[in-house]
């Protein structure tokens, strides 16, 4: 058992499931000989052959459309979109078909497919390589949208995503692809989809995040602890469908909430979480619901990207404001 990074965990999960299940095939741009531009599919073509690890032509609508056709035949495609910024040509297939084929056919045709895409900022990439647009897919009924925040969850959630009988959009926070390592047993044990993980228990405030921002959020919780504030930390993990029950339980306990997201603020996932709390948990609230987020502007080119992204200190600051609110 060796310690591996988040991206290695993604790779390990795919390899595990490809070994177990002949119906699993991986495809996308540069996933073959190159092993993916981030190496997520490194070694898979060597191991499983060109028939099951397929370099596609350069066309994202095609990638999604082919995945739909294959999945409708009962195969389990795991398709890669090279960067989430390039998922939009596939949006029609994801929104109009992935999310709907089971429903449309009253369960006759189902789509056990996964669409993977690295997302988020912080790696000094060119434009369209750094956005966080997960809210778009979180709004679409019929999709599952999953975001792992560390290597263990990447392994367990990826396995669950492949095994899930319904389409899963699996968004990988590329900024933390290699930021930490976990020792993970390659035993094929999956993690449940559709539930939030309580990463840290606390009593004074609930910090809610997902993806790369979990990194800052955990650090903020540490700092807050040093300041005498006990923060509960929730990793949403599956952002659609949302496990609001776990969040409401935590809010019932702490009475104070700070949501942390990298995406622009308006109409993002944090808004949905806040709205649910404002509808169902407001009687437990002792302070306004805070949202620490990216700005409502275009993700800047990389020289300014740090100015866009929330930092540990902003979370700490906002959390303190909320905790001190009377």
């Amino acid at each position: 058992m060796k310690a591996i990074t988040l991206i290695e965990a993604v790779n390990m999960a795919m390899a595990y499931e490809m070994t177990q299940d002949k119906e699993v095939v991986v495809f996308g741009e540069d996933v073959g000989a190159n092993g993916g531009v981030f190496r997520a599919t490194d070694g898979l073509q060597e191991k499983f052959g060109e028939a099951r690890v397929i370099d596609t032509p350069l066309a994202e609508a095609m990638i999604a459309g082919v995945a739909i056709g294959m999945a409708a035949q009962g195969m389990k495609p795991v398709a890669e979109i090279q960067f989430m910024g390039f998922i939009f040509p596939a949006a029609d297939h994801i929104i109009s078909h992935c999310a709907r084929l089971r429903n449309r056919t009253r369960g006759r045709l189902t789509l056990p497919l996964v669409i993977r895409a690295p997302y988020g900022g912080g790696i000094h990439a060119p434009e369209n390589h750094s956005e966080s647009t997960e809210a778009i897919f979180a709004h679409i009924p019929g999709l599952k949208v999953v975001i792992p925040s560390n290597p263990s969850r990447a392994y367990g959630l990826m396995l669950a995503a492949i095994r899930d009988p319904d389409p899963v959009i699996f968004l990988e926070p590329k900024r933390v692809y290699r930021i930490e390592k976990h020792e993970i047993e390659d035993d094929g044990e999956d993690y449940p989809l559709g539930v939030c993980f309580v990463d840290r228990e606390g009593t004074d405030i609930t910090l809610i995040s997902w993806g790369a921002m979990m990194h800052e959020t955990r650090q903020a919780a540490e700092k807050l602890a040093a300041l005498g504030v006990s923060a509960e930390v929730i990793d949403v993990a599956t952002i659609n469908p949302l496990d609001i029950a776990t969040i409401l339980d935590s809010v019932a306990k702490t009475g104070r909430v700070c949501i942390v997201q990298e995406a622009p603020k308006a109409g993002a996932l944090g808004s949905e979480i806040a709205a649910e709390i404002a509808e169902k948990g407001i009687m437990n609230l002792l302070a306004p619901i805070g949202r620490v987020s990216g700005f409502d502007t275009v993700m800047p080119y990389y020289r300014l990207e740090k100015q866009f992204m929330p930092k540990v200190e902003h979370i700490v600051e906002e959390a303190r404001r909320i905790v001190e609110y009377k």
């Binding site: 032509p57 459309g65 082919v66 078909h97 056919t105 009253r106 006759r108």
Partner: protein, 360 residues
């Protein structure tokens, strides 16, 4: 300067508008009168189904409906070469092929009647077929995915997918051709060139001389046939299907016809259709010429015609009755096929919907 590639597009027609064979050496089906009579009846079924659908729509019993009038030879022609285990990935004007491949008339009515059960095909033959994809050209890509699965599993099956000539302007159509070409997939792409995309005539759609040549962009085989000539459609489809099942790769077949009806029941083509086009079109339509051919070969008569019409109309009426008598789905049906397992939050909404439904 050298020539590095050359292409040509062939056009095939066997049966002219007078029902006369244009060649002494027609494909086998031209002499298989039992088969032709069956195809004639199948085309008539589609024609009558469309008429019934219009009647239902005009009396408020059906939603918007897209008839295939004038294009029956296309769907009936190609789908009649499909094996049971081949897969059809249709478009919204694809009822001719759908019914040919086992979808019931009732299911067609259900779809246009606003009921998802119209996509839950009960006939074994259609069990793996796709339902209608409303967003134009998306189906072309789904077809390539189905064919890829067949290829990976080493199956000798093929996929047929249809699209209107207007739909060929979509990027998805081209992406599908391209991937089918490079992966050598067993897909047959049928272009129903009925010369109109709602109000937009083919002459405003593309500068191409033919729609067949669009396949040149993907390096795949292509040809043009008279879509009013079921012998030509059938023959081209037969060859393409055999090729596809045997690893020979994809084919595009452009079938030239004419939309002898409004775009849908919601359309009024008199706003844009040039005078006289319909009159000319009706002279070339596919049923008439096949009937003439059958008659000239002493294979058809007024009596047979009436018997056949009685049979298909009874079939249609009983399907229409079933359609009309089928109670609407309960409100919870909105939720029951969303995921394999409904999430907690949506379960609660399902209860709200049921409670509201119960109140009504």
């Amino acid at each position: 300067m050298t020539i590095v590639a050359k292409f040509e597009i062939k056009y095939t027609q066997y049966l002219d508008e007078n029902g006369e064979l244009l060649t002494n050496n027609p494909p086998a089906i031209a002499k298989d009168f039992d088969c032709l009579k069956k195809l004639y009846r199948d085309m008539a079924l589609v024609r009558q189904m469309d008429i019934k659908a219009y009647a239902l729509q005009r009396t408020g019993k059906l939603g918007t409906y897209a008839a295939a009038t004038g294009q029956e030879a296309i769907g009936v022609g190609y789908a009649s070469v499909m094996n049971h285990d081949d897969v059809l990935v249709p478009y919204y004007r694809g009822q001719a092929a759908m019914v040919q491949h086992g979808v019931s008339v009732e299911e067609v009515f259900l779809f246009w009647g606003g009921d998802e059960r119209g996509c839950d095909f009960k006939n074994e033959m259609a069990k793996q077929d796709f339902p209608i994809a409303v967003p134009i050209a998306t189906q072309s890509l789904h077809a390539t995915g189905v064919a890829k699965a067949m290829q990976l599993r080493g199956e000798k099956r093929c996929v047929f997918t249809e699209i209107g000539e207007g739909g060929t302007s979509q990027g998805d159509f081209y992406e599908a051709l391209n991937v089918a070409g490079i992966w050598n997939l067993g897909v047959v792409f049928i272009v129903n060139n009925n010369q109109w995309a709602i109000s937009v005539p083919s002459g405003l759609q593309t500068a191409c001389k033919t729609y067949a040549q669009k396949a040149i962009a993907a390096g795949i085989d292509c040809q043009q046939v008279d879509g009013n000539d079921i012998i030509a459609v059938h023959e081209a489809a037969l060859k393409a299907a055999e090729k596809a099942r045997n690893g020979g790769g994809p084919t595009l077949i452009e079938c030239i016809s004419l939309r002898l009806c409004d775009h849908t029941t919601a359309d009024d083509a008199s706003r844009y259709r040039p005078d006289g086009e319909l009159e000319e079109g009706w002279k070339k339509e596919p049923l008439l010429r096949l009937r003439k051919y059958l008659e000239a070969n002493s294979q058809w008569s007024e009596v047979l015609e009436n018997e056949m019409l009685t049979e298909v109309n009874q079939l249609i009426q009983s399907n229409a009755d079933n359609y009309e008598n089928l109670a609407a789905q309960p409100p919870e049906a909105m939720f029951d096929y969303l995921y394999a397992e409904l999430p907690e939050r949506t379960l609660q909404q399902r209860e709200v919907a049921m409670a509201r439904g119960a109140k009504q």
